[in-house]
């Protein structure tokens, strides 16, 4: 990691995503939270759990570190937990999901 300095991005460069699918995955997680399908903290906890699972598994059996793979897995998990793709859709007048505290 001695090359850290050279590879640090700057304000001007800021290439936050290496690939468009990473950007889409980021936007999807943000959009679903923004429109009330889950609180952001729930997605964050899912991400923490996913990354924790990777870090706890033996190096020989876990794949290469790739942050956005964890991001996608965490997102799929929350979508599944919240039954966003399976439960009937209930929205308010502004197309926001109606808060459901039963979870």
């Amino acid at each position: 990691m001695t090359a850290l300095h050279e590879t640090c991005t700057t304000d001007q460069a800021a290439p936050s995503f290496d690939h468009d699918w990473q950007r889409r995955a980021f936007g999807l997680a943000l959009a679903l939270s923004e429109f009330g399908h889950y609180p952001w903290s729930e997605f964050q906890q899912s991400l923490i759990d996913t990354i924790g699972g990777w870090e706890a598994s033996p190096e020989s059996s876990r794949g290469e570190w790739q942050y956005y793979d964890h991001w996608v897995a965490a997102l799929e998990h929350v979508v599944d937990q919240r039954e966003i793709l399976t439960a009937p859709l209930i929205t308010d007048d502004g197309d926001h999901a109606v808060a459901d505290d039963s979870h």
Binding site: M1, T2, A3, L4, H5, T7, C8, T9, T10, D11, A14, P15, S16, F17, D18, H19, D20, W21, R23, R24, A25, F26, G27, L28, L30, A31, L32, S33, E34, F35, H37, P39, W40, S41, F43, Q44, Q45, L47, I48, I51, G52, E55, G63, E64, W65, Q66, Y67, Y68, D69, H70, V72, L75, E76, V79, I84, L85, L89, A97
Partner: protein, 206 residues
């Protein structure tokens, strides 16, 4: 790019397909529209940028009362500045500023995940999310800081802040000397994302 960041293309393909499939299903069910993700990303990328952090830092440099308030109740102090509204939980309710002062340097990391203070810093640089950086910075901050060009005096205390969902830290760097006559714009140019994470000093040329 080192091998460390190399990415197998089949895995890449699979990830891309999973994301596309998920978005497609959400649109099909009517949860979101075909424009939703683009709109959210466009707002985020235009408004949630380090410019917000720069404004906060410069305000703190010029206004000692604000500087005192912003480290006590960061969201309330920031609310005075008329910055763009945040988004969802990605917004600023858990923002917490820490100020560098003579003898104390603050460094922000996240050992579990990247709970980055987006509303004031934009998206994190990719190395920030790397487990090697995170664990080394937690274990040997002085060495890591020296490697990135921040040589601190032995007697300077380094405080390492571990961001989490509950506290999303950012650093108010010290104002460089000799900048008393600078305009706001000149001062903002001195404030980099790195300086607000604590891996650089304000005005430090990289």
């Amino acid at each position: 790019m080192t091998d460390q960041f190399a990415y197998p293309s089949d895995r890449e393909q699979t990830s891309a397909e999973r994301v596309a499939a998920l978005e497609h299903l959400l649109i099909e069910k009517g949860v979101i529209t075909g424009q939703t993700v683009d709109k959210v990303l466009s707002y985020f990328e235009s408004e949630m940028t380090p410019l917000n952090g720069k404004k906060i830092v410069v305000k703190a440099w010029k206004d000692p009362d604000f500087a005192a308030r912003v480290v006590v109740d960061t969201p309330a102090a920031i609310a005075e500045l008329e910055l763009p509204e945040g988004m969802a939980g990605a917004e600023g309710e858990h923002l917490q500023a820490v100020a560098n002062v003579p003898g104390v340097h603050n460094l922000v990391i996240c050992t579990l995940c990247s709970c980055f203070p987006w509303p004031v810093l934009g998206l994190p640089p990719y190395w920030y999310k790397d487990p090697v950086f995170r664990s080394r910075a937690a274990r040997e901050p002085r060495t890591v800081l020296a490697e990135v060009g921040v040589e601190l005096a032995e007697e300077t205390e380094i405080k390492v802040w571990d961001s989490s969902g509950h506290s999303r830290w950012f650093v108010i760097p010290e104002r460089p000397s000799g900048t008393e006559d600078f305009t706001d714009e000149q001062l903002m140019d001195l404030v980099t994302t790195e300086s607000m994470i604590g891996v650089a000093l304000a005005g430090q040329s990289s």
